[in-house]
């Protein structure tokens, strides 16, 4: 029980941030038009590629001789980058199609 209280004390800032971010997420995304469901999904999917940052931060503190951790972290970086870069590229491609059409109308 004590350890839970210390955990809360140490992470109060994070808890604030977490709570506000949840509300922010609901607020920012509410009332999306149907046209944008797919781009929004693939865009937000790309954002979940932020895990890449975590993989980078962890590999930087890993002992250079700990090959198991290095290999796993490198794999994490590769996969995170695929998620991030691929996700944004695919979303960009989709949105370009919407724009192409709009420019024609003008």
């Amino acid at each position: 029980m004590n350890s839970i209280i210390t955990f809360i004390e140490q992470n109060m800032e994070i808890i604030y941030l977490l709570t506000f971010a949840i509300f922010l997420g609901f607020e920012v995304i509410s009332k999306i038009p149907t046209v944008l469901h797919t781009p929004l999904m693939s865009g937000s999917n790309a954002i979940s590629g932020v895990v890449l940052i975590g993989a980078i931060l962890l590999i930087r503190v890993t002992e250079p001789t700990n090959y198991l951790a290095l290999i796993l972290a490198t794999l994490g970086i590769i996969l995170g980058t695929i998620n991030l870069v691929g996700g944004f590229a695919v979303t960009g491609r989709m949105l370009e199609m919407f724009n192409k059409k709009k420019n024609k109308k003008k």
């Binding site: 995304i29 590629g49 980078i56 700990n66 998620n83 991030l84 590229a89």
Partner: protein, 458 residues
């Protein structure tokens, strides 16, 4: 150091603005770019941020980013718009596995340090990441047709689901209490987590796929947020939470579009249609493309109801040509888009946008239904379950209660279909046997090509 923190803060603000812009049609492109810039900033900071122990291992980081970026860009360029749901699932699975690997590396690096509670959070994250991974891989297999529903029948899947969930969550609390776990225990935990993802997604099938994809998306967001807590990075926390909560909103929207509570999607085992509802019989009447062409030319209002079948047949471009031709003949031409048509939320809109169909021709569910009441000819191209009247009048039907595109008052309905086989959800459709319905069998693209040719001669 303070410079890094300020830049990280700016990146977080950019990310929020980007996501905000992404949810409006006019600014979506810029929003995507802003979010990408925000995360790129975050990555650069992560690489150079001063840390207590700096082994850096930059070679590995460079290699990983290079390989990942190449794979990401190449697959993003190559993927066809019809395969978008598979691609998003696969990317999502990679993100989940990456989060799982982060947790593993943390466990390896912190064998001696770290509090018991830290261990619990890391195990929880490992569980989430691996579930997102194996679940997404199964979803990918289903969407790409590599895995068939009948291969994925798991006996007692609901019971297994609950038992696995209790075992893994129980294990997290147990090890968080103990503060240590052996390699064997960790390995078992990995296996159980992966297994849970499979059991979670495998029985859900058919028409519920859009719900599955958006909930897996949300799950990866949550695991990214927890990874942010573990590595103490606020941009990760923020990004993950935003993805998690937007994913939850989309999931609920999809559930609403199908009039099914989320729990019934997860535990409902929608996958295979059995029972009495397949007893619909009758004679389906056929129509020739030539007759249909004449009928279209003399109509006032025409409506196309596209489904995934249209995308499979690659018929969207040729449908657009029919639209242009009928436009010249002053025939009003619209598209009725059901929210769950296709394999992921909003999939039809993307496919039609690819074929240059303009926004104002696309009607959403409510507008489409009032339009369909006064439509002369409705052409169903590869849609099935979203026009199935059983949803309105047959309480024994598995899709009973789902809002559909209602063709009851439409003067003529023509269904373009390969055969009389039931749709993706495996449910027979009484619409095909109604008096005002005619069938046009064959490949949709070829059929429409003939219609187009005939139309030019009318």
């Amino acid at each position: 150091m303070i410079v890094f923190d300020i830049v990280l803060f700016i990146a977080a603000v950019l990310l929020i603005i980007g996501l905000r812009k992404l949810s409006h049609p006019d600014s979506a492109s810029r929003g995507n770019l802003l979010a990408a810039i925000a995360l790129a900033l975050g990555v650069v900071i992560a690489i150079f941020y001063p840390l207590e122990t700096q082994n850096n291992n930059y070679g590995y980081i460079g290699l990983g980013i290079l390989v990942g970026a190449i794979i990401g860009i190449v697959s993003a360029k190559k993927v066809a718009m019809t395969e978008m749901p598979e691609m998003v699932s696969l990317f999502n699975g990679f993100g989940g596995l990456s989060a799982g690997l982060i947790s593993l590396v943390w466990l390896i690096n912190n064998t001696s340090s770290g509090t018991a509670l830290d261990l619990g959070v890391v195990l929880f994250n490992l569980f989430l990441g691996l579930v997102a991974f194996s679940g997404s891989v199964i979803a990918y297999g289903k969407l790409s047709g590599k895995l068939k529903d009948e291969h994925l029948k798991i006996p007692l899947s609901t019971v297994l689901n609950i038992v696995l969930l209790m075992v893994t969550i129980g294990a997290i609390f147990y090890f968080a209490y103990l503060g240590v776990l052996t390699t064997l225990q960790l390995a078992l935990f990995l296996v159980f987590s992966l297994l849970y993802g499979v059991v979670f997604v495998a029985p859900i099938g058919g028409a519920d796929m859009p719900v599955v994809i958006s909930s897996l998306n949300s799950l990866t967001g949550i695991t990214a947020a927890v990874s942010g807590i573990i590595t103490d990075n606020k941009l990760m926390l923020l990004g993950g939470v935003l993805v998690g909560s937007s994913g939850i909103i989309l999931t609920l929207l999809m559930c609403k579009a199908m009039n099914r509570p989320l729990l019934s999607v997860i535990f409902g085992n929608f996958s295979s249609a059995q029972g009495s509802e397949n007893q619909v019989h009758g004679n389906a009447k056929e129509v020739t493309p030539a007759d249909l062409a004449v009928q279209l030319a003399y109509s006032q209002r025409v409506c196309v109801v596209p489904g995934y079948g249209m995308a499979v047949a690659q018929a969207q471009k040729i449908v657009k040509e029919v639209e242009e031709l009928l436009d010249e003949k002053d025939v009003e031409f619209k598209y009725a888009i059901h929210p769950v048509a296709g394999r992921m939320p909003g999939h039809m809109n993307v496919l039609l946008a690819e074929a240059d169909v303009s926004y104002d021709k696309l009607l959403d569910l409510d507008d489409a239904n009032s339009y369909l009441d006064t439509t002369d000819v409705a052409i169903i191209v590869g849609a099935n379950d979203v026009v199935n009247p059983s949803a309105l009048d047959d309480p024994s039907s598995k899709i009973y209660g789902m809002p559909i595109l209602n063709l009851a008052k439409t003067k003529n309905v023509v269904v373009l279909k390969r055969s009389m086989n039931p749709g993706y959800a495996g449910i027979q459709n009484p619409l095909f046997f109604k008096d005002n319905t005619k069938m046009l069998f064959g490949d949709a693209k070829k059929s429409i090509a003939i219609i187009l040719r005939e139309l030019k001669e009318v």
